[in-house]
Amino acid sequence: MKYVDEYRDAELGSVLAAEIATTVDPDRHYKIMEVCGGHTHSIYKYGVDDLLPDNVELVHGPGCPVCVIPMGRVDDGIALAHQENVIFTCFGDMMRVPGSEGSLLDAKAEGADIRMVYSPLDALRIARSNPDRDVIFFAIGFETTAPSTALTLMRARSEGITNFYAMCNHVTILPPLRALLESPDLRLDGFIGPGHVCTVVGAKPFEFIPRDYGTPLVVSGFEPLDLLQSVLQIVRQLGEGRCEVENQYSRLVPYDGNPAAMKVMAEVFELRPHFEWRGLGFISQSGLKLSEGYADLDAERRFSVPGIRVADPKACQCGEVLKGVIKPWECKVFGTACTPERPIGTCMVSSEGACAAYYNFGRFAREREVV
């Protein structure tokens, strides 16, 4: 496929890998975080890390929206799904995320009407064809999926559909990155920036990272050559003493983002004072809720939810994985008590989760030998 195949060329990959090897300082260790779960998935799917020199370490960031959902929000979703006359809709992976007393999939088995959708538009279609039922969409994701939820709510309004609601769990990527940079646990040499978030918000909002924290960031595409090119750009910046935001993904990312998308988000959403992130705790102004103009479509206002904070299971170390402090295979339950079939933590659920990526692509065996 055009714009895809040419970014998976093995020969060009070898050339880039060789260039990275000659650019890095052999006496230095490079710790680079890929922010986005989509990058984590691509890195292990294509074995990008195998092409990097030993002193270039990739650590995984908090950019998988399923992984950062705290258990309390799952419980709230399940409570909504059990309400009378409700059809609860959500994306596929979300159904398997464990709450304190089971997952949405378990609730479905118990009789709740929970349906998997591929987009909020699908959920709206269900509302349109079930006018005597209340349809709730479990909205989740970063700035990539928030415009989709916003447009669907605007469409519901313009079509006069009155039985469609959203439970908003949308989050924004910049506050957790700031929290990570302020954390003493982690010292990073560079960021592989979230390419698709940047198609919406642009690369400009990330300028505070090199400016205030002295850490370079390269906005990257998701194909293996994109990732190698981005690593090369980061190590080049470090070698040349530069520190700036660069845009490797210029075929899709305009530096200033998509103003139309930001406009619909600003109309439909407003920032919550704070929102809980799994492993990262409460981060101020990091979550979105429906604005006053759309309050009547807010499932949390229309129905009652418990809203109880639930601590993660003690055995689960998703928090440390999400902060890049430990590698997935260093978690005590990785691959034993916690597997994609029976996940304990969120990182093992989503295909973009770091633990699932390690597990599915067999990347842990080699790493374990190193220990």
Binding site: Y3, G92, S148, H196, E352
Partner: protein, 83 residues
């Protein structure tokens, strides 16, 4: 799809079940038909899967254009990079 770059068609995305994600995955799709009045387009993935897609954020687009789709909404028109 030659995802491994070794000339073997491994059907990577289907093989690894990557289609059921949190929908925070960007999927390149081609526009097959337009319903401009409703702001929707019928789009097709490389594997031939079709779905309705919101096109308000990338308008104007034409049949045959490639777009990046997240959760049923086209976020960007995929264009040639001019170097």
């Amino acid at each position: 799809m030659d995802a491994r770059g070794d000339g073997v068609d491994c059907g990577a995305d289907e093989e690894f079940g990557h289609c059921i994600t949190c929908s925070d995955e960007g999927v390149p799709m081609c526009i097959v038909a337009l319903d401009e009045e409703r702001g929707l387009a019928l789009c097709e993935t490389e594997a031939g899967a079709r779905s309705s897609v919101e096109i308000l954020l990338v308008a104007p687009v034409l049949v045959g254009d490639s777009v990046l789709v997240h959760a049923g909404t086209a976020l960007r028109k995929i264009e040639e990079v001019v170097k």
